[in-house]
Structure formats: structure tokens, C-alpha cells
């Protein structure tokens, strides 16, 4: 067979292609690839290298190769790094546990509400989603003011209803409540839009068939809506966990990571704030790089586990 298939036509382009390598595609990808190499590829390895150094960019002469010291500090009980790092990691996990359930249930409720397709629901969708477009700095500053003990909006209403208001931002567990409320207000709209798109993808005839079979609204929610939403729900649970793990600006502006704990570190200081402080307030950039790598490994392991579980089930 092969010999009968006009050999010249198939080989001719191959030869000319081999003779002159077409550089046009490389010119197209070059600008992006260059920046990518400098700010994503190189720092991946450079970060690893820095984590083996005692490094302060303000005092380059003090740079020293210290091997695994930055990592052993993180795993030696009693060291400063051990105490503040694991405490901040614990705080981050706490925040994930407090925030993610609200970041799923509330957006789901909102999406169901909007999916009634009542007239004007597009306007309401725009309102619920609006805070997401704002900068975290604006959102955190605004809620910092709302939760102030003196003059804050929340404590004004609590006092007028006869409730003794807590000092939200400086006592536990109220500081977490304030940070979670701020986060839910800021980011619920994002998951809501994703869930709404998924709800609108469920064809009407499924519900019509269920209604003809005598299913009530509640029954079709549990038996039809939720099972059909499952892949999207899994997706937003995973992305919300990762997003909550990256908590930074809300405690950075609202509580400063406080209130202080007796053992060191702050009760609402998340791991990202800890890395920032280690690297840019204490100027221990080698140690901060080591902290980022350990944290990144934990996050990657989590994502990979999720990916596996997700894959097996579907």
C-alpha cells in the first residue's frame, strides 16, 4: 500500500519544513515566554536556592550558605520559627474550616434565589456580585470601620438592642467572626455566579418530568438539583479551600494578625502574613523562602489528593 501512495507529495513539505525551521511561531511566543521564564521559571529554582541561605537583601555581604538550617528551624520545637509558623498554619486551617461552609451554602442559596428567573433578577445578581470587584484593601478597611468598638456600626445596633457588644477585632473568637463576615460579603458573589451558571445548565424538562411524577420543590432540590450540581460543588469547595488558605489582607488590615497569643504569634495571623513578616519585616528572606516552600508543598499535596479523589469519583 505505502508505495502506491504518491510518495513525492507527502515527502516534499516534510523536507522543506526540515530545511528551514520556521521561527515565526517562536517570535509569537517569545515576549510571554521571556517574562514567564524570568518571573515564574527562574524564581522557582532561585527560591529553593535562597531557602538554603541566610539572606537579607539589604545586607548582601551577610549572605551565608546554611544548608537546611532554615528548614530544621521550622521542625525544631522551641525555635522562634517553629512557634510562629505552625501557629499561623493552624490559624489558616481554622479560617478555612470557618469560612468555606458559608462560602458554599450562602452562594448556593443566592444562586437558587436568582434561578427563579423572576423579573429583575439580573439586577439582583449584579448587586450580590458587586463586592467581589472591589480591592481587598477597600473591603478590609470598610469592615474594619464597621466592626470598630467605638463608633462601629455593628456595635451601635447591638447596644441599641441591649446586647453588650464584644470588642470584635481584639478578642477571640470575635476577631474570626469579623474576618469571616467580611470574607463572605466580599467573595460570595464569585461562587454564586458559578453555581448560577450550573443551575441554568440543568434543562427544564428534568424538573417538568419530576413535577408530573408528583415531586415537590424540596424533593426535586435534593433528588435532582444537588446531584446534578455535584461536579460544580466539588470544584467550588476545592477552589474555596485554596482561596481561604491564601487569606492575607483581611487580618492584615482588620486585626494586624492579633490578638497576641501568650506563646508568640497572633491568634488571627495566617501563614501568608507570617511569610510576609518573616521576609519583609524581619528581613529573613531565606527563612521566608523556606516557609513558602513548606507551605506550597502542603498546598500542592492537598490539591493533588483532591485531584485524585475527584478523578476516581467521576
Amino acid at each position: 500500500m505505502a508505495t502506491t501512495v504518491q510518495p513525492r507529495e507527502t515527502s516534499a513539505p516534510a523536507v522543506s519544513r526540515r530545511r528551514r525551521l520556521n521561527i515565526t511561531p517562536y517570535l509569537f511566543i517569545l515576549p510571554h515566554l521571556l517574562v514567564f521564564a524570568v518571573f515564574v521559571g527562574y524564581p522557582f529554582f532561585n527560591g529553593l536556592y535562597i531557602s538554603f541561605l541566610q539572606y537579607d537583601y539589604l545586607r548582601p555581604n551577610n549572605t551565608q550558605f546554611i544548608g537546611l538550617q532554615n528548614y530544621t528551624n521550622l521542625f525544631t520545637p522551641g525555635s522562634v520559627q517553629y512557634q510562629v509558623y505552625w501557629s499561623s498554619l493552624g490559624n489558616t486551617v481554622e479560617f478555612v474550616l470557618y469560612s468555606v461552609p458559608f462560602l458554599i451554602v450562602i452562594p448556593l442559596g443566592l444562586a437558587l434565589l436568582l434561578n427563579t428567573r423572576i423579573r429583575g433578577s439580573n439586577v439582583f445578581r449584579a448587586i450580590y456580585f458587586a463586592p467581589w470587584a472591589l480591592s481587598g484593601a477597600v473591603v478590609a478597611l470598610l469592615w474594619w470601620w464597621i466592626f470598630q468598638s467605638q463608633g462601629g456600626l455593628i456595635n451601635y445596633y447591638l447596644a441599641s438592642w441591649g446586647v453588650t457588644p464584644p470588642r470584635w477585632l481584639s478578642t477571640m473568637p470575635w476577631a474570626w467572626v469579623a474576618i469571616v463576615v467580611c470574607t463572605v460579603w466580599w467573595t460570595s458573589g464569585f461562587n454564586m455566579i458559578i453555581l448560577l451558571a450550573a443551575l441554568q445548565d440543568i434543562p427544564d424538562y428534568v424538573y417538568e418530568a419530576a413535577a408530573i411524577d408528583g415531586a415537590t420543590g424540596v424533593q426535586s432540590f435534593w433528588r435532582i438539583t444537588l446531584p446534578l450540581l455535584r461536579p460544580v460543588l466539588i470544584f467550588i469547595v476545592i477552589t474555596s479551600i485554596i482561596a481561604s488558605f491564601n487569606l492575607f489582607i483581611q487580618p492584615f488590615i482588620m486585626t494586624g494578625g492579633g490578638p497576641a497569643q501568650p506563646g508568640g504569634g497572633g491568634a488571627t495571623e495566617p501563614v501568608m502574613v507570617r511569610i510576609y513578616r518573616e521576609g519583609f519585616e524581619r528581613n529573613l528572606q531565606g527563612s521566608a523562602a523556606a516557609m513558602s516552600f513548606v507551605t506550597a508543598l502542603i498546598m500542592i499535596a492537598f490539591s493533588y489528593a483532591n485531584f485524585r479523589i475527584f478523578r476516581e469519583r467521576t
Binding site: 509569537f28 515576549p31 510571554h32 515566554l33 427563579t116 480591592s135 470598610l142 492575607f248 521566608a288
Partner: protein, 296 residues
């Protein structure tokens, strides 16, 4: 009923008596809930605006006035006139940085995306897989080493230190590549036969077709850059060079318990975003909705 039925093959079951009324009640309940929820979402923003327009004597008043009893622009004048919090300058800085990041991202990403979507070249799959793999890496891994790179390049206190690293992201390349993959090749092939160069075909045929995707990417890139906090906080230390979000942090430190000034600053930072949001909401919604559906 019988005369209508043939036109509607899936006629609704005959409405039960009282359905009309129960539907009305249902709608009233739905609107009540939706309006209540909307109030929860809007009230913090109203409070921000309201505080920013109040004189100092009314920040801690005995009653909560959602509408200020006296409206004043004193808070705005105070922060705009204070050389240690040059918020007008910050606004211009944010505008310059976000516009340049958006423009350059569109150029750089669309060129790359077009090549990955339409051209055959050795290494294409490998390079693209490499880009894809980095999507799973958490961003803060790059904080320290990129800061050192930017410092070594002499880009601290220089807009380049904020703008150039922002172009390294891979999301835009994926997003546009998906779009290019979805449009038919015929027009480009025709242009090619007519003797157009690759760059001409790209710029004159493919890019105009990609306008909706470019608009979506432009909106979300601009918002992300305008709102970015941590990286500009590290790179632009000079007060004259700060952008608005780190500037708000400076305000928080500079005006202890001067909430009117802080809320004036927050309002100034929020207004452009809200204007863009209201005008271009459908692009933002579309990008988010596709993000979710891609996860399936």
C-alpha cells in the same frame, strides 16, 4: 384550552384553582427576600460613602445617620491636600499601572495564545504543558525570589517592577487560546492564500474575531491590577509612587481613628471599579461562569 394546545406541544398542566394567587404570593415573598439580601450587600458600601461625607463630629454620634445630617467634602479635601497622603497621585499611579498592565497583557498573551492555538512548531506541546503545570503552584512561592529579582534589576520604586512581573501570568494565554481554538480557520487560511504574513493574518483576521474574549480579558486584568495589594506594597515603597490599595494602608496608619478620611480614600479607590463593574458586568460574569464550567 383545546384551541391553544396544538401550538404548545408541551402544554402546562391545567392550573389548579387559586394558582394565580399563590403565584402572586410566591413572587412577593421572593422579592422581599431578594431586596433584603440586596440591602445586606449594599449597606456597607452606603455606610462607606455616608461616613466619607460626614463632618468629624458626626462619626461617633449617638444615633446612626445613614444619610449625613450635613454633607461635607472636608474629608476629601483633607486627604487630597495632605502631601503625606497624596491620594490624587496614587490614583494616577494606579491608572497608569493598571492601563499598561492591561494593554501589554493583551498584546503579549494574544500573540502567544495565537501561536499555541494555530501554529505547529517543535516544542509546542512541551512548552504549553510547562505553562499549564505552573497554574497549580501557589503564588506566594514566588514572593521572595521575585522581590530579589526586581531589586537586582533596579526596579524597586519603579513602575516596571509592578508591570513586568504581571505579564508572566498564564491565565490569559489559556483563556485566549481556548477562544482561538473555537473560531473557524477558513478566514485565516484565505488570508494566507492571499499572501498575508503570519503577523498580518493574526492582526487583521484573528484579532478582530477575538474581540469579545479580548474585552473579557481586558476587564478582569484591569480590575486585578487596580486592586492588587501585596506586590505593589513591596515594590513601590516611595510614597509618591504608591498605588491606591497600599495607599489605603498608608491612610490607615496616617489618620488614627480619622474614619471620615479613611472612608473618603476607600470611596476614591472603589468608584472607578464600581463604574467599570456596572458598565462591563456581563464580561466579568461571563469569565467567572466559564471558569466554573471549565472545572467540570
Amino acid at each position: 384550552m383545546t384551541t391553544v394546545a396544538p401550538e404548545r406541544p408541551f402544554a402546562e398542566p391545567r392550573p389548579a384553582p387559586g394558582t394565580q394567587r399563590s403565584k402572586l404570593i410566591r413572587n412577593i415573598v421572593l422579592y422581599a427576600i431578594m431586596i433584603a439580601v440586596a440591602a445586606v450587600f449594599l449597606m456597607p458600601l452606603l455606610w462607606m460613602l455616608s461616613t466619607s461625607l460626614k463632618p468629624k463630629s458626626q462619626w461617633f454620634s449617638q444615633t446612626i445617620d445613614w444619610i449625613p445630617r450635613t454633607v461635607t467634602l472636608a474629608n476629601y479635601e483633607r486627604i487630597l491636600g495632605n502631601p503625606s497622603t497624596p491620594i490624587g497621585r496614587w490614583f494616577v499611579n494606579s491608572l497608569i499601572v493598571a492601563s499598561l498592565v492591561t494593554l501589554l497583557t493583551l498584546i503579549v498573551d494574544s500573540l502567544a495564545a495565537y501561536a499555541y492555538a494555530r501554529m505547529e512548531f517543535p516544542g509546542r506541546r512541551t512548552i504549553f504543558a510547562l505553562l499549564l503545570a505552573t497554574l497549580f503552584l501557589p503564588g506566594m512561592m514566588f514572593l521572595v525570589p521575585n522581590f530579589i529579582t526586581v531589586a537586582n534589576l533596579g526596579w524597586l520604586n519603579n513602575f516596571a517592577g509592578v508591570i513586568v512581573p504581571a505579564l508572566a501570568g498564564v491565565f490569559g494565554v489559556f483563556f485566549l487560546r481556548q477562544f482561538f481554538n473555537g473560531i473557524p480557520r477558513e478566514l485565516e487560511e484565505a488570508a494566507h492564500i492571499d499572501g498575508a504574513s503570519a503577523l498580518q493574518t493574526f492582526a487583521q483576521v484573528a484579532l478582530p474575531l477575538a474581540k469579545p474574549a479580548l474585552a473579557t480579558l481586558a476587564v478582569i486584568t484591569f480590575l486585578a491590577s487596580w486592586n492588587d495589594f501585596l506586590w505593589p506594597l513591596l515594590v513601590l515603597k516611595d510614597r509618591q509612587l504608591q498605588t491606591l490599595p497600599p495607599g489605603l494602608r498608608t491612610l490607615q496608619g496616617a489618620y488614627t481613628s480619622e474614619y471620615g478620611q479613611m472612608m473618603a480614600g476607600a470611596t476614591i479607590a472603589a468608584i472607578p471599579v464600581l463604574v467599570i463593574y456596572v458598565a462591563l458586568q456581563r464580561y466579568i460574569v461571563r469569565s467567572v461562569a466559564t471558569t466554573g464550567l471549565a472545572g467540570r
